[in-house]
């Protein structure tokens, strides 16, 4: 449907700004054959994964801490609001200025954009942790690891899933901006390059290719993982 509409409008307008689906497909094949596509997709995907892992690794414990300690929450709340409202672009530019045009600054900037988001979601989850199960774990002298793995994490699973969902999509959008501004590879860099050449077909080819990669991540990784985590609920009578 969408594809037919696109083709129709493109043929009708006959403009360079909106190439036909066929032109985009050809651009995609050209890029794929030269190996450019795989290289740049890989670079971007690696950054998305690194930034995501970093954001979750910092955001999840921080969120749990803020959700369970009132003092910590009151202390860090202003910082959280500040970061939540800080434009992504400002964080990226400042990171490049302060830490140089390197990979660490790029990934750190993306993660920093995502962390407040993860913290807020997980804080909500930690606030709703069951006090009854916590007491049960206390009287049965659960160790720290047993408590986290069997009592706390299963309760936080929906919140972690929500943070992952919104996280991956937000991160990949910001990664492109980071690449555009200060990296010499990746999908963002390529889009910037073809923007200067006004090659809309190739820009769309890269965009669609990466969207396809993210769809695969969604359906092949995220959804099965979530189903697995929610197995116990499907047994409900």
């Amino acid at each position: 449907m969408l594809l037919a509409l696109w083709a129709l409008v493109a043929v009708w307008l006959q403009m360079r700004a909106l190439p036909t689906p066929l032109a985009v497909w050809q651009a995609l094949l050209t890029e794929a054959r030269s190996g450019e596509l795989a290289f740049h997709l890989g670079a971007t995907l690696a950054r998305v994964i690194a930034a995501f892992v970093l954001a979750m690794a910092i955001g999840v414990p921080l969120g749990i801490w803020l959700g369970t300690s009132r003092t910590a929450d009151r202390l860090l709340e202003p910082w959280l609001v500040l970061l939540l409202n800080m434009p992504a672009l400002v964080v990226i530019v400042l990171a490049y200025i302060w830490f140089g045009l390197n990979e660490v600054a790029a990934i750190g900037a993306v993660a920093l954009n995502k962390i407040p988001n993860v913290v807020v979601t997980l804080r909500e989850g930690a606030r709703s942790l069951s006090r009854e199960l916590d007491e049960m774990a206390t009287v049965y002298r659960f160790g720290a690891w047993r408590r986290i793995r069997h009592v706390v994490l299963p309760q936080l699973q929906p919140y972690i899933a929500a943070a992952t969902r919104s996280g991956i999509s937000l991160i990949w959008k910001i990664v492109l901006v980071v690449e555009l501004l200060g990296r010499s590879n990746g999908v963002g860099f390529q889009i910037h390059l073809y923007f200067q050449l006004f090659d809309v077909a190739t820009i769309l080819a890269y965009t669609l290719a990466f969207v396809a990669v993210m769809l695969v991540v969604e359906y092949a990784v995220l959804q099965p993982a979530e189903r697995r985590a929610r197995r116990w609920q499907q047994h409900r009578g």
Binding site: E135, M136, T138, Y140, R146, H150, V151, W232
Partner: protein, 254 residues
């Protein structure tokens, strides 16, 4: 403030499995008012005895259990038991982990390194066919049985039960009471149970502690020597009557 001494050889009763010497517990209400929840409470539990605490609702029975369990440390006084004592607890609600199977729920509550064969216990409690189910698939009665299995599995030195059969229909509660008695007699341990049901107390206990209205204090101790199989309905009625005479604020038998 709280002074939880875990040592053997307590002053009052040297061979007691648990000695409680609480002088008081205050709460500060939201309005800054000082509430006296528990008064002076001194009692000890002989090893392998079954003790029931009865008292009017809201008198601080559950608070007392929470202090013994270490969930509430804001009291003045001492709770003494051997530091190696393993405690099995049954709460008012089953408090099972919904994302773990029946068997995992029981195993997770075992101390690290303790390997216990569970087949016999599951069989005694009628849970053999339910080991792999999730708590969401269990009826209320079955969930309570899992909570009992969890408490007995670690071979407890002290069994703490906080109104374990509350909010069940009377038939199920009666069946579970009989089951608890069977399992406890097969695996004797010191048991302390809070209940508001006098009939339940005189049916199960060797000794009944009668608490007065808040702040909880001990108003009477009743020893019940009659063997449990001879405690028929008329006998229980008479025993409950005697208990009610001791604590004027006690509720009627259910």
């Amino acid at each position: 403030m709280a002074d939880t001494v875990t040592e053997s050889g307590a002053t009052s009763a040297p061979d007691a499995a648990l000695t409680v010497a609480i002088e008081g517990r205050h709460f500060t209400s939201a309005g800054g008012e000082r509430l006296h929840a528990v008064g002076r409470l001194h009692f000890s539990l002989p090893p392998r005895s079954f003790t029931c605490i009865v008292g009017p609702s809201g008198c601080g029975k559950t608070t007392t259990l929470r202090m013994i369990l270490g969930l509430d440390a804001g009291y003045v006084g001492r709770v003494r038991m051997d530091e190696r004592t393993r405690i099995g607890t049954v709460f008012q609600e089953p408090r099972l982990l919904p994302w773990r199977s029946v068997e995992q729920n029981v195993r997770l509550a075992l101390p690290a390194g303790l390997e216990v064969p569970l087949d016999a216990l599951f069989a005694e409690l009628g849970l053999s066919e339910h080991r792999d189910l999730f708590p969401g698939e269990l009826s209320l009665g079955l969930a309570r049985r899992v909570a009992l299995a969890r408490a007995f599995a670690l071979e407890p030195g002290l069994l703490v039960l906080d109104e374990p059969f509350v909010s069940l229909d009377e038939t199920t509660a009666a069946r579970l009471r009989a089951l608890l008695m069977r399992v406890w007699q097969a695996r004797p341990t010191t048991a302390l149970m809070v209940t508001h049901d006098l009939d339940e107390a005189v049916q199960l206990a060797d000794r009944v502690l009668v608490f007065g209205p808040a702040p909880a204090t001990l108003c009477a101790t009743h020893d019940l020597d009659t063997p449990r199989q001879r405690r028929d309905a008329p006998w229980r009625e008479a025993a409950a009557h005697r208990l009610r005479a001791a604590g004027e604020a006690l509720p009627g038998t259910a």
